[in-house]
């Protein structure tokens, strides 16, 4: 089986889904002629033409807003936000319109929109090209949010998102685009169910909960701790951020009694807080240590390479937190 990169898995899935459903169309900045700043949408314009692969002006509010209008008349829009950081101009359209139209129309108007958002740090992108903005939307019922951490889920979650009648924010990690390569079967429709977390590695001493690039780091830290120090880490890949798979998390932490949540965003008010709250609520009588959060600092994302390295959690700092919690 051929191994492809995370970004190629996205590209392939876009080709397949746009071919499959003629109501789909893609709109974004530089997505057509240029094939996307990262080349995620390469080849689509040639295959499907300018009516379905649209180069947008620099206006995220228009990108999101026109998706709402298109969805109202029966289309299945696939807008792209060039860098997740830029989503803020489209925030109003997304949280007030996209998220609420089904509710407001008692189901008459679904918003089957999949908004792709390249996110995450480690690419030297600086303040406006490195952020993790999932927390901005966590509190908006009506939205679904997924964040693939593997090549297979990049394809599987995208397919599920596009086919879903719900509006989905699809967070694709730009560092993983080309750093992750894995097998993906051709000619097979790989589907990852939305709303299911995945226990990627079983363990008994402490549970690591994460997504995106940090998930990959957690797996590496777990390997190292097992091999060098005999600490058994259970690693959970969240996969869906909203609605979160509470049961899988609760089952794991009830078992291990200890947890560490890892995310890139600034610590305060991040998704980690929500996870810790729900675990405290449901696992309190099984907790054997405080739940730790490993996250970014409460500062804007730094530009200098040295600062970026210091800012983001690393395999080392994650391993330290896991060891510390396991040994409490």
């Amino acid at each position: 089986m051929a191994r492809i990169t995370y970004i190629d898995a996205i590209n392939r899935t876009l080709h397949e889904e746009i071919a499959r459903d003629e109501t789909t169309f893609l709109i974004g900045e530089d997505t057509g002629i240029y094939g996307g700043v990262f080349k995620a949408t390469r080849g689509l314009l040639e295959e499907f033409g300018p009516e379905r692969i649209i180069d947008s002006p620099i206006s995220e509010s228009m990108i999101a807003g026109m998706a709402v209008g298109a969805a109202m008349v029966g289309c299945r829009p696939l807008p792209e936000i060039q860098f997740a950081d830029f989503i803020s101009p489209g925030f109003d359209q997304i949280v007030q319109q996209v998220a609420k139209y089904r509710w407001r129309t008692r189901g008459a108007w679904d918003m089957p929109i999949t908004i792709r958002c390249p996110w995450g740090g480690g690419v030297g992108g600086g303040v406006f090209h490195s952020q993790s903005n999932e927390a901005w939307f966590l509190n908006t019922p009506g939205l679904v949010m997924v964040a693939p951490s593997t090549v297979r889920d990049a394809a599987g979650l995208l397919r599920s998102a596009i086919r879903s009648a719900d509006p989905v924010l699809y967070w694709e990690h730009k560092k993983l685009y080309r750093s992750l390569k894995d097998e993906l079967p051709e000619g097979e429709e790989v589907v990852t169910p939305i709303g299911e977390a995945h226990v990627a590695r079983e363990g008994t001493d402490v549970t690591a909960i994460s997504f995106g690039q940090m998930f990959q780091y957690c797996m590496q830290a777990a390997e190292r701790l097992a091999a060098d120090e005999g600490i058994s880490v259970e690693v959970i890949d969240l996969r869906t951020l909203l609605p979160m798979d509470q049961d899988t998390l609760v089952a794991s932490v009830s078992k291990t009694g200890k947890a560490v949540v890892v995310y890139e965003a600034p610590k305060t008010g991040g998704i980690g807080g929500e996870i810790v709250a729900l675990l405290t609520e449901r696992c309190f009588w099984d907790l054997d240590a405080p739940i730790a959060r490993v996250a970014g600092y409460n500062t804007p994302f730094p530009a200098a390479a040295t600062m970026e390295r210091a800012y983001l959690p690393t395999v080392d700092t994650i391993a330290d937190a896991l060891r510390d919690t396991a040994r409490t």
Binding site: G257, W285, D286, L287, R327
Partner: protein, 431 residues
């Protein structure tokens, strides 16, 4: 309109009862004031009667069901009213309900326990203040009655971790070292579940309400009172001879057998008057001296240990005490005691001698502060004025609560009881 049969008041702080037996079936005729159903609560079996006559129309709570005060047990239909078809399912709920009772019982004791914890299983739950204990560890300690200071801690700073507790529970045979020694009657309702081999058949029987109550009270007493037992012995020859002499006449005159109990009761009361600490109680930081004498007399029944109380025993003659002990014991064995019969004691007598014990260390009937155990009268060689003589001797054991009663008064109290028994004429003169 159909008359509802409701659960009457069951006594102070008794919120629930178990339906033990329906005396009538659906469709049966019921007279006014006739007993319709039996309820079992604590140590009491009580009958619920119909206010008016009619036909038993429905049984809403079958035998085995747990009911609260005020709940509808069934209905009685008057003339011309409908009667529900007899319940064919009555058998099945009977099997189900007792099994559900076990998990329900712990929640019936909210006032005494922490809200989220099941009752402690034995004495000795110790959660040290100076150790970092996690929610999981504390929960396990409460559930299994563990003393955390006795478990190896492998966590940071010597902390006992959840793993440490789980390992301990798997390893310890009956988790015995972590608990104070308790008599068999105090077996815990929530001990660690044990796996049995294929060749280790077991029979599981849900605890009856009486057994659960005994378990709880024994545990509570041992956990609260600082139990010490002091022993003395009495030469019972005078009492034995006296009883021999008068027992037949006594029987004829009063219709009850004269046992040693009334003599001992009188001696105990006389001594209580001289040592008021032994007839007191602790309430918070106050000592409550009882200026009255309600004597509990422990009775062994099939269902378990019951302690009916002789109220104002000091005002009663020996024959009255004898008659009352006989009546209470009979009613206890027939499960016909009322709430009033078993509440309010200030001191308790317990006799293990009937079954042959020569010495025991009885458990105090909390919140009393002492219990006097009497035993088998046994002929033994003893020294009397420098010579060896065979005398009928009896050991008396006083278990007392050392929080209130010190050793000296306890020993002196017991000595006084023995003195009075050895010279019963003193009871006439001094008591």
């Amino acid at each position: 309109m159909a008359l509802e049969i409701k659960v009457p008041s069951l006594g102070q702080s008794v919120p629930e009862a178990t339906v033990s037996k329906w005396l009538k079936q659906v469709g049966d005729e019921v007279q006014a004031d006739e007993a319709v159903v039996e309820l079992e609560t604590d140590k009491i079996t009580m009958e619920v009667t119909a206010f008016r006559g009619g036909t038993l129309a429905s049984i809403d709570k079958p035998a085995g069901a747990t009911v609260a005060v005020g709940e509808v047990l069934g209905t009685i239909a008057g003339e011309g009213e409908e009667v529900a078809a007899p319940e064919p399912e009555e058998e099945a709920p009977e099997q189900e309900e007792p099994r559900k009772e076990a998990p329900l019982e712990p929640s019936a004791r909210p006032a005494e326990e922490e809200p989220a914890a099941p009752p402690a299983t034995g004495g000795g739950v110790v959660i040290p203040e100076d150790m970092k204990t996690s929610p999981a560890v504390r929960r396990l300690a409460r559930e299994h009655g563990l003393d955390l200071t006795r478990i190896e801690g492998s966590g940071r700073g010597g902390r006992v971790t959840r793993d440490d507790v789980e390992t301990y529970l798997e390893g310890a045979p009956a988790a015995a070292p972590a608990r104070e020694a308790t008599p068999p009657a105090a077996a815990a309702p929530a001990g660690p579940a044990r796996e049995y081999g294929l060749d280790e058949p077991v029979e599981r029987v849900p605890m009856t309400p009486i057994r659960k109550t005994i378990a709880r009270r024994m545990s509570e007493s041992k956990r609260t009172a600082a139990h010490v037992t002091t022993v003395d012995e009495a030469d019972m020859s005078a009492i034995v001879e006296l009883r021999e002499r008068i027992k037949d006449d006594f029987r004829e005159a009063h219709g009850v057998k004269l046992t040693y109990m009334p003599f001992i009761a009188k001696a105990a009361i006389a001594a209580l008057k001289e040592y008021p600490d032994v007839n007191a109680s602790i309430e918070g930081e106050e000592i409550v001296y009882h200026r009255f004498y309600h004597l509990g007399v422990a009775v062994h029944t099939e269902a378990g240990l019951v302690v009916p109380v002789i109220k104002h025993a000091d005002r009663k003659s020996m024959s009255e005490i004898a008659a009352e002990i006989d009546d209470l014991a009979t009613r206890a064995r027939e499960r016909r005691l009322e709430m009033d019969d078993i509440q309010g004691g200030t001191f308790t007598l317990t006799n293990a001698g009937g079954f042959g014990a020569i010495l025991t260390t009885p458990i105090i009937s909390y919140p009393e502060v002492a219990v006097l155990g009497i035993h088998k009268i046994q002929e033994r060689p003893v020294a009397v004025d420098g010579r060896v003589e065979i005398r009928p001797m009896m050991y008396l054991a006083l278990s007392y609560d050392h929080r209130l009663v010190d050793g000296t008064p306890a020993v002196l109290f017991l000595r006084r009881v023995c003195e009075l028994l050895e010279s019963p004429e003193r009871l006439l003169v001094e008591a």
